[in-house]
Amino acid sequence: MRVRRGAATLALSGLALMLAACTWAQDGDPLADGNVLYRSGDFEGAAQAYEQALEAGYDGPRTHYNLGNALYRSSRLGEAIAHFLAASQMAPRDADIRANLARALNQRPQGPPAPPPSWLHAAADAMVGYFTLGELASTAAALYWLAAAVVIMHLARLRPPRSLRRAAIVLGALALVLSVLAMGRWWSYHRPARAVVAVESTGIRTGPGESFEVAQTATEGWLLHVTADDTGWLRVHAEGGARGWLPSSAIVRVSAAGGEERDGAD
């Protein structure tokens, strides 16, 4: 009786897998329409097709990357940067995404005035930017577990070898550093929300309204952090240090709905 039930379960699982495979074959690549339009030079049309794929739930790095390309080719630089950033967040080591993001940032008409970052800041940025939040957090957790195991052995007078105790100190320190980096990455991507200026130029005002004076002019492609929202106006902190208010119509937010790439075969 038990053998029969197992066989039936196996058969049902196989059927479900076959149905899933058939559905995939019928649906095909959800980005195919956009890719065809892109190849034909209809970049606006391709951008629309990719946006539809995003709305349909295909919010992985490939969709954001291709959409960023189509927007870049349509001279919508700010929006392109936002989507390259979203793709980079999910697949930070992908060479194409990194190259196109750098290219798009260099194409900005005028970057925000900013002092050069210190080597420590630059190194931390590079380190944080090279891994996903999940990778940093998982690695930090694994090192924390190893270090904790040695500490527990020591506390319980199980007499771990001296070499293991030294390794635990190193692992613990490494776990601490990775935890700080993971927190930095979590903070930079989730709180406050990232955004990019998407219009040719706009004034960063001292308050939420046209009546407030313009403190600084932001141009297309400036990277921002949104720190507050007030009925159509956003309080922002620009990468160059400028703080103030911008109309929400002038920016595009970097998508943070998803998080990380699911897997390449998807």
Partner: protein
């Protein structure tokens, strides 16, 4: 973005240029439309575009020029003009134009009459037949030079106002232009007024010419046009009306139409030139394609250049100067359209830009013809650093991806509750370790406690070490010793003086039930019988003794733990 007028003040009939310049990184600027302003008309228009690359940055400058002509004095407000660029709407500032009366004497439009006629006249300048004097002193005629043109072919429409010299008018006549619905209308410069004799009576003729182009085959009705005038202060306003004119527009012949026909009906010639004939790898040279001639060449689109060698081509600018062009017979719409390209050779050697061919339809010859340029050859030298080919890395964005990257995202592990819960597990381990550490310290500090808690483990270990196949007496002795030491440790007695009966009473004092204490006492008696009376029938077998002792230990431990 900036809008300006070439002059702020003009005389009636003079032209002024309205220039709109859009500059910056903006791209995809659509042709702006000048709002309709009464008595101000757009005589011609032109546009140009320039793109420059500098430090990896692409800058564009779009320039649109509109030539305006005012027909009445006054102050004209040109409203703000909307310009659409890449999804944005840019707006110019409003402008003001002052039009003053002409300083030359203005003649009232007096013209000798000829009866209104719908007859087409091949030559509008030709005086009407003079055999019979016209019945009216004032009349008008509307004529076209070709009633059955091809699609895209220019037709010149002439509205003529005749006033006899015998009649004088008060002020200027006002005319309403004829309707040209469905046709592209382009005002032509006004021909000078002239005097013609009609039936022996001199008539003053004032004409207005307009170029018409039909975008599709079919019948188009032009007019009628009306002209209002007064003969004196006390006279009422009079109106003369022309007959309407019908155009029967023919389609272009299908026979012989080239697949890449440009759509221009007229006559064209084209030239191709480069700013230099040699260029280094990595540098760009500007190549200019100039197409000039008659016809509505505003519709020409930049053709793609065909190159024989490795090079990159970027469209970099356009200039369009299209408007009425004078010919021996009058005016035709035409001009020059120039397309500029940046050509960046990618490899040392030669790059030849193949001849550019532009096909048009010659309406006079009724056939398709071509304007062809000569080829342009560029000599490509090594770059400043001696490089012989152009590196592609980083120059353009990388291509879209069709695989290798995921299509969906998922929440990072830090968004899962279980991830944070399992991080608490090491804390539980630390708690266990601290408890164990305290336990070990207590055992060191209190030997009696240590003896009590370790008694069972010690006894079990001793039982495990007894050889089952050993000599029965020694087995019974070892089991008796292990059991006696265990009971002494658990009850705080001295093992050496612990008899079976004393064991019973101590176990009962310690909390063991009577039956368990009896079992222990009996077990000790039987073991000691095996030691002191070998072969006794009450002594258990060695293996049985070990098993019974283990079971007894477990039961006592369960009660006294």
């Amino acid at each position: 973005m900036h809008a300006s007028l070439s002059r702020d003040t003009v005389e009636v009939g003079e032209s002024v240029d309205l220039m709109i310049v859009v500059a910056g990184t903006v791209r995809g600027v659509a042709q702006p439309e000048v709002p309709v302003v009464d008595y101000l008309r757009v005589v011609s228009s032109g546009s140009s575009q320039n793109i420059t690359f500098a430090n990896g940055r692409l800058d564009s400058t779009y320039t649109y020029t509109f030539r305006l002509q005012a027909s009445r004095e006054g102050t004209y407000a040109i409203p703000a003009i909307d310009i659409h660029a890449a999804g944005q709407v840019l707006t110019t500032q409003p402008l003001t134009l002052t039009v003053v009366a002409t300083t030359s004497p203005v003649r009232p439009p007096t013209a000798p009459p000829r009866p209104p006629t719908g007859r087409p006249s091949p030559e509008p300048e030709e005086p009407p037949p003079a055999e019979e004097p016209p019945s009216e002193d004032v009349f008008a005629s509307l004529e076209v030079d070709n009633e059955s043109p091809y699609v895209g072919q220019q037709v010149t429409m002439t509205l003529s106002f005749y006033q006899s010299h015998r009649t004088s008018l008060l002020g200027s006549a006002e005319y309403a232009p004829p309707s040209t619905e469905g046709l592209v209308a382009e005002p032509l410069p006004d021909p000078p007024s002239r005097t013609v004799p009609l039936g022996g009576i001199p008539y003053e003729v004032i004409a207005r010419s307009t170029a018409l182009i039909a975008p599709a085959p079919g019948e188009y009705t032009i007019g009628p046009a009306t002209i209002d005038f007064r003969r004196g202060y006390v006279m009422g306003e009079e109106t003369v009306t022309t007959d309407p004119v019908t155009l029967r527009v023919r389609p272009l012949p299908a026979a012989g139409r080239p697949p890449d026909f440009s759509g221009v009906v007229g006559r064209l010639h084209a030239t191709l030139s480069a700013t230099t004939d040699s260029v280094r790898v990595g540098d760009a040279v500007t190549v200019r394609l100039e197409v000039a001639g008659s016809g509505d060449i505003r519709q020409l689109e930049a053709p793609e250049l065909s190159l024989s060698g490795p090079a990159r081509v970027y469209p970099s600018g356009e200039q369009r100067e299209v408007g009425p062009q004078t010919t021996g017979d009058g005016y035709v719409i035409g001009g020059t359209v120039a397309f500029e390209y940046l050509v960046m050779p990618a490899q040392v050697g030669e790059v030849t830009i193949e001849p550019v061919v532009i096909h048009y339809f010659n309406a006079a010859a009724r056939r398709y013809e071509s304007a062809q340029t000569a080829p342009v050859t560029l000599r490509v030298l090594p770059g400043e650093g001696g490089e012989t080919s152009l590196r592609s890395e980083g120059e353009e964005i990388r291509y879209i991806r069709e695989d290798g990257l995921g299509l969906r995202s998922h929440l990072p592990v830090t968004s899962r509750t279980w991830f944070w819960l399992i991080q608490l597990a090491p804390l539980a381990g630390v708690g266990w370790a601290l408890r164990r550490r305290a336990e070990l310290r207590r055992r060191v500090a209190d030997p009696r406690y240590r003896r009590y808690v370790e008694a069972a483990a010690t006894a079990q270990a001793r039982l495990s070490r007894i050889a089952r196949a050993g000599e029965p007496r020694s087995v019974h002795h070892a089991v008796d010793a292990a059991l006696t030491d265990y009971i002494a440790a658990k009850t705080g007695a001295v093992a050496a003086s612990l008899s079976p009966d004393e064991a019973r009473s101590r176990l009962q004092e310690a909390g063991c039930p009577a039956d368990l204490a009896d079992r222990a006492t009996e077990m000790l008696f039987r073991l000691r019988a095996g030691v002191y009376a070998p072969g006794s029938s009450t002594a258990p077998r060695p293996d049985e003794a070990i098993a019974m002792a283990r079971a007894l230990l477990a039961d006592i431990e369960a009660r006294l733990r």
